[in-house]
């Protein structure tokens, strides 16, 4: 979820505002759109009111995306004026029939805040736009007034002001100060007026605190469910591996030893071959336990931390790997483990699918976010929907609010970027790099 700024009408001062002449164009466009917005609001309300009659529902559901993209456009526009991002507030639609969807839409505060904004925009928004345009017209009118007076029929623009009267070309120059006044007013107030306009949009179109929380809760329950599922599956796999592997080998070993014991006196040669069998079973059990441990928590990760473990994996992989690591400290063990397996998964994908012989790994921690990047110049065409590997990475990182980004055009190169917000402990100087 993109971070949202505070919702206030105070304009962001540090933001470099757009050039004033560009602002005039936008005032014109936004002014016209604010009136179109009335139409949008009306269609929205009427179709909503007609839902009980049946026909309204189809119109309502069909119109909603249009209405939302109309408002989205204004979100972007207003965001640009304020120099920040106004994020979309809509709660995701649940799966289900039209009734559940309709309920979700009507229960989403964003729906009604959109409507409120459409109406506010048609009034206050329009006023602000018209204000800017009026200032511009004033400037043009009064600064050009002598010329207008000169070319217009006699007496048409004779005006009797309170302090003076315009009745010939000479006196027509007396209105020029008005033009300058308008120019000053425009200079000083048009940008704040547009910011006020954008602030109105920001106020009403940003997610409310409760929407933000609702979205966050949804995200968290999803990632928690994923994590729990993954962990349960992982435990089942470990149980199965132990049961069919090391445990069975140890049973075989015990049997061989028992049999060797019973035939030792009678048949030393048979006892010897049984002991050899026992030793073999022992070796196999150890090998299986070793693989299992590697899958649960690789020893090198415990011994060397993320940097060392990634380097060790790269060294041992068949790829020629360029590794650059800049992590000045150790990560928390759970984060360390998740990020290690994410990098390993990404590299395994490279080995299995890309056809590349070289890969690059970059690990960097900037004080807040750990960024891990795996690049290869292989076949490309990897996408999140296709690969269970990539989805596995997403699940692992999701548990820590991490993000996965895959850029992989067909023909390569593929860049897998993983980001994980986390803190470091016990700083250690270890910018390391090398080619494995």
């Amino acid at each position: 979820m993109a971070p949202t700024g505070e919702h206030s009408l105070v304009p962001a001062r540090e933001q470099r505002s757009e050039p004033l002449f560009e602002l005039i164009g936008w005032a014109l466009v936004l002014g016209v759109l604010s009136e179109i917005g009335i139409l949008v609001a009306v269609v929205f309300l009427v179709s909503f009111a007609l839902i009980p009659l049946g026909a309204g529902l189809a119109v309502f559901l069909a119109f909603l995306p249009f209405q939302r993209s109309f408002v989205d456009w204004h979100r972007t526009r207003a965001g640009r004026i304020l120099g920040k991002e106004i994020s979309r507030p809509y709660l995701p639609l649940p799966q289900g029939n039209w009734l559940t969807q309709l309920r979700a839409i009507t229960h989403d505060p964003a729906t009604w805040r959109d409507l409120a904004w459409l109406l506010a925009n048609a009034t206050l928004g329009l006023f602000l736009c018209v204000y800017v345009l009026a200032l511009v017209s004033g400037i043009i009118w009064y600064l050009c007034f002598p010329a207008i007076y000169f070319f217009s029929p006699d007496g048409l623009f004779d005006i009797d002001y309170w302090y003076f009267a315009v009745n010939d070309l000479t006196t027509s120059y007396l209105v020029l100060p008005f033009g300058i006044a308008f120019l000053l007013l425009f200079w000083k107030t048009s940008a704040p007026a547009m910011r006020l306009y954008a602030g109105l949009a920001d106020k009403l179109l940003s997610p409310t605190q409760s929407s933000l929380l609702t979205m966050r809760v949804r995200e968290l329950s999803e990632s928690r469910a994923d994590t729990v599922d993954t962990q349960a599956a992982e435990l089942r796999r470990i149980e199965r591996d132990l049961h069919d592997g090391a445990q069975a080998r140890l049973v075989a070993l015990g049997m061989s030893l028992g049999m060797a014991e019973s035939v030792l006196a009678k048949d030393p040669a048979a006892a010897q071959s049984l002991l050899a069998e026992a030793r073999l079973a022992n070796s196999q059990a150890l090998a299986e336990l070793r693989d299992l441990v590697r899958g649960v928590h690789p020893p090198v990760l415990a011994e060397r931390g993320l940097a060392g473990a990634v380097e060790a994996f790269a060294v041992a992989s068949p790829l020629e790997t360029n590794v650059q690591i800049d992590i000045p400290g150790r990560l928390d063990p759970p984060v360390e483990s998740a990020s290690y397996f994410a990098v390993v998964e990404a590299l395994t994908n490279v080995i299995k699918h890309s056809g590349a012989t070289r890969a690059e790994i970059r690990l960097r921690h900037d004080g807040e976010i750990l960024t891990m990047q795996v690049t290869d110049h292989g076949a490309g065409g990897a996408d999140l929907q296709g690969g269970t590997g990539l989805r596995g990475i997403q699940r692992r990182l999701g548990a820590f609010d991490g993000r996965l980004d895959v850029i992989s055009p067909v023909g390569g190169p593929t860049v897998v970027t993983m980001e994980l917000p986390c803190v470091l402990s016990s700083p250690r100087i270890s910018p390391s790099s090398g080619t494995a």
Binding site: N282, P299, A302, E303, A316, P318
Partner: protein, 214 residues
């Protein structure tokens, strides 16, 4: 032959002491943590040390670090490193000083007692003894294939057995050929890798190091 042992699990430490003593090696000191290991290596200067990678107090790679540090101060001090798991990275670090007298094996390798003792003696004699898994993975690297590409399949086989620390006699037994044939293969390997005539043992180490591309 004087041996220092570093192993934190009492059961394994006693087992190693018994095993080595039974084969006529003298265990001069057995320690159970990293700092004591470094001190023992530097003061005892044993003929060979048998070291567990993971030791207290940090339970990370204390043993490995102590061994590398000791070899930095006393170049070529023979060290056989044992571990529950082997890492290419650690092998590379151990080999990087190019002094020989280094071994890196799984703890499982003690099961074959005679062979294990033989390997301890080889490391003590300046040989290089590596776990077969480390060697197999190195062979899988396309980059490493280059300097070794000129070797025949048989020669590569011989070289990888050399890297495991086997003598010509052991290699000939393993490949079911005469020792003389193995000698011809090793000679050809030395030539192809550009290792000039010198003391045979040292050339074996250098060939293995070329193999590891360190």
């Amino acid at each position: 032959m004087r041996v220092v042992i570093a192993e934190d699990l009492a059961l394994l430490r006693d087992g190693l002491i018994r095993l080595l003593t039974a084969h006529g090696l003298e265990v001069v000191e057995a320690v159970d943590n990293g700092p004591s290991l470094l001190r023992a290596l530097l003061t005892q200067q044993p003929d060979v040390a048998v070291v567990d990678v993971r030791l207290p107090p940090t339970f990370t790679d204390e043993g490995l670090q102590a061994a590398i540090e000791a070899r930095r101060q006393i170049p070529g001090l023979p060290v056989l490193v044992l571990s529950q798991h082997v890492e290419q990275l650690y092998a590379r670090e151990l080999l990087s000083d190019r002094n020989g007298g280094v071994g890196y094996l799984l703890k499982d390798s003690v099961f074959d007692v005679d062979q294990f003792v033989e390997r301890v003696r080889q490391v003590a004699g300046g040989g290089t003894v590596m776990d077969p898994d480390v060697i197999a993975r190195l062979l899988a690297k396309p980059k490493n294939a280059e300097p070794l590409a000129q070797l025949t399949a048989r020669e590569r086989e011989v070289l990888s057995l050399m890297a495991e620390g086997r003598s010509n006699a052991a290699i000939s037994a393993r490949l079911f050929v005469t020792e003389k044939t193995v000698g011809k293969h090793t000679h050809s390997i030395f030539n192809k890798l550009g290792l000039a005539q010198s003391e045979d043992d040292n050339r074996r180490v250098l060939a293995v190091l070329a193999y590891f591309n360190t």
